[in-house]
């Protein structure tokens, strides 16, 4: 297994939005989905998820409602709002641009300098 990478500053919000964009999830579900998509390559301190969720909800990017979980427990479900969807698209775009730029810089050979 590859060494686990620490989460880059500010990327947690984006990952949460992405995870929730695939369907409503409760907090624990968000954690599981991120781990699942990333093949367990990312460590997230589990509790830190919640301040981030509250922040996104506060900003109107996520909406919440109480529902029942798969093992019949009451759980709070998060769902992407229209504003959240726009935000996710924009974040993805700028992330890709950034990654391209950084990649180009790091991949530059001596002949390009």
């Amino acid at each position: 297994m590859a060494p686990k990478a620490d989460l880059l500053q500010g990327t947690l919000d984006m990952l949460i939005l992405k995870a929730v964009s695939l369907g409503p999830l409760h907090g624990y579900g968000v954690l599981l989905r991120i781990q699942q998509i990333s093949n367990d390559r990312l460590t997230i301190q589990q509790g830190s998820l919640y301040p981030a969720l509250y922040r996104l909800e506060h900003q109107g990017l996520l909406a919440t409602e109480w529902g029942e979980s798969e093992n019949r427990r009451k759980a709070k479900y998060y769902r992407l709002t229209a504003a959240g969807r726009r935000q996710l698209q924009q974040a993805t775009r700028s992330w890709n641009e950034m990654a391209d730029t950084i990649g180009a810089i790091l991949g530059a050979g001596p002949e390009q300098v």
Partner: protein, 893 residues
Amino acid sequence: MTLLARLRSFLRAALRRSRMEHEMDAELRFHLDARTDDLVARGLTRADARRRARAEFGDPIRWKEQGREARGLRVVDGLQADLKYGVRWLLRSPGLAVTAVLSMAIGIGANVAIFSAVNTILLNRLPVADPAALVLLAQAAGDGPAGEIQGTTFPYPFYRLLRDSDEVLSGVLAAAHMSPSLDAGGPPERVNGELVSGNYFDVLGVQPHVGRHFTQDDEAAGANRVVVLGYGCWLRRFGGEPSVIGRVIRLNGLPMTIVGVSPRSFQGLEVGGGAELRVPITLQAEMHGERSRLERRGHWWLQIMGRLKLGVTRAQASVVLDREYRAYRATLPRSEDAIEQLAVLDGSRGDPSLGQRFTLPLMVLMGLVAMVLALVCVNVGNLLLARAAARHVEMSLRLAMGAGRLRVMRQLLVETLLLGSVAGVLGLVASRLGVRVLAQLAGAPPEFEFALDTRVLTFAATAVGITALVCGLPPAWASTRVDILRALRVETSQYTPGRMAARRMLIAGQIALSLALLVGAGLFARTLFNLRHAGFGFDPAPLAVVTLNPVLAGYDAHRLPGFYAGVLERVSSLPAVESAAFAAIPLLSGGFWGSGLTLDTGGRHDDMGPFRNAVGPGYFGTIGIPLREGREFTSTDSATSQPVAIVNEAFVRRYLGNGSALGRRIGPAGPRGGPRFTIVGVVADSKGARVREELWPFWYVPHSQLEAPDGQIEAAAELALHVRARGSPTAALHDIRQAVASIDSRVAIGGGATLKAQIEDQVETERLLATLAGVFAAMALLLAALGLYSAVSYMTASRTREIGIRMALGASPPAILRLMCATNAPTIAAGAVAGVAISLLAAERLRPLLFELEPADPATLLAATAAVTFATAAAVLAPARRAARIDPAATLR
């Protein structure tokens, strides 16, 4: 949009706090439970799984705290904690809290009270439907758009013209002042009233308190004899009984039916306007026993207000109405010299004359109370500063433990805001009492109320905010600017001159402000004195005046002379009366009369010219105006004898020049004018209409000769009886009333007052200013002295050890006293100098309110400086003497 979402989320979290907390707990619990289940499914024991889940999760308290922060709740929580702490602290030092709250309450209360007056008189709109659409018509001189306003009265035919054309106005009303004699069972009394058009209340959109208001039918010719009472009149004269509807009262002897009462809030077209009752305009002739004015195209007597149609601007209305006005004016005969153009004024505040009269006095009062509040702020700030020194260690400890400076300052500001809020509530209550006193001082009718509306409340809240900030910020700043290490190590109550410098400056500022306030109060007090003792040209003390109008009681022109002769004879023979005489215009009543002037040389003055009066035999002797040349009028000057006149010395100087005035002929200007009257006497100068006027040129004719040539019977219908009393004029007034009633009890006595009282009426504004300025200045001086006293006490206390050492080394108590005084003398001197400078600058603005007084009045400046020096010296001496009595042995142990 996200801002809105954030606000909504914040409010939801803040207002439904416990539910949010509960949900947060449930959510975290669910996470731990779900994780534990998963781990158990992977083969761990439940206990191990639980432990592992917790470890992976981290500290839930921390996450919850961050969660709250994410919702913007941290500030709320912090403020709540600050508030709790603040309350606890205030309860621990009640003396300080009470002092601070009380002085802030006084400052805020005074400001809110004066602002309430500003609000009601200058800012508030009329309490009618949609006041913004109301316009007031006025005549303006000149042809440009910026024509000067000349008057606000119009003839009835012009009013009718506007009412019947509905181009720009949806409604037009007319009103005129009158003062009928009201007979509601008791002795008849002259009251303030209004003649109004039938649609008056409809156009204003005012609903009656009881009964009904007028309708257009009430204005029809041969109108109903109906009357609508004002709320105050109803309350005072009719006991506020709804059963008065339908009752018949007599106005000028005419029986009239009460049909309604207007609401309390409605005072007419003027704030605090005193109309006690209103009758339809069509009753004018019948009520006053005179020719009807309704068809007179050149008689300017009606105030006209209109309501703009929806979508019509004032400028548009102005164009249309001015056109109509010019067309109307063109139909008038040439001799009716109407003013060029019509102006359409904002009518939302009604007739602006009251506001104009009170603008400057109110602004001055606002300035005075603002200064008082500034003083309060300095004082409370000083108190808090002293306390900040005492809390030095606490602050240092907080900062040492890592509290941010802003966070600590916030804590301190919350405490001041708490003080300010309590003071604000108290101040608001106090201001309600204050405005009642204010209304009384200003002579407003008892039902008059200064509104307590959102504007006043906003002002009060702003005053609290500013006060708290100004009081609290400097101490908060100072007490968080600490050298932590030093503060925690060294004993705190040390005399640090640097820290004292700031306080000294504040104290000097206080002294300066209170000195300036004292100067203001002094100037107003001297103005009042000057007005009361103005050179009237006679001694007002023994005089009294009553106004009689027998026409209102049904007398016709033929019976008038008989009635007046009878009254004069009866009154003159009263033991309390030394002499009595009639005049058409009562002395110092504010009323004046001018009719231009023509001279025997052919000279002609078509402006108002000199003031004029028509007086009876013995008038000058009764008033005490010395005769310089010639003779007084006598009873032989009658309608059939040679027309004669008496002029004053100013008249001679201005119009006649050198040579004897006796024998010269003068007369009024105008179509029926001409120099008919031969001058038979010259009298000394005296004031006529107002206390504040100069000694104006005057000419007098016998009132018996007034009627025939001019045809002006109106002038002689009402005469004012001037009486010189033997003893107290107040007592004489009583006898005079009885004497008049014994001749005809139906004749109402108007304006029965001593001349002294009449003068007091005229100096009402000045009295108000002098009284309030005096109160505010006294408050200021007290505050400054208290501030100085507490500061010096504090400094003395912190120098106890030093003084002990000095004394132990041989300093005598007088030397210590000198030292303490010397330390404070520069502060006082600096404050006094600054105060004189401020006074000189500010007093110039007061010039229009002063009377026979320069703003830089040396006596006032000197007296104010002396008072401040005396008070501050006393405030310094007490603690200084305490210092001199220090026992060195006790302090050094």
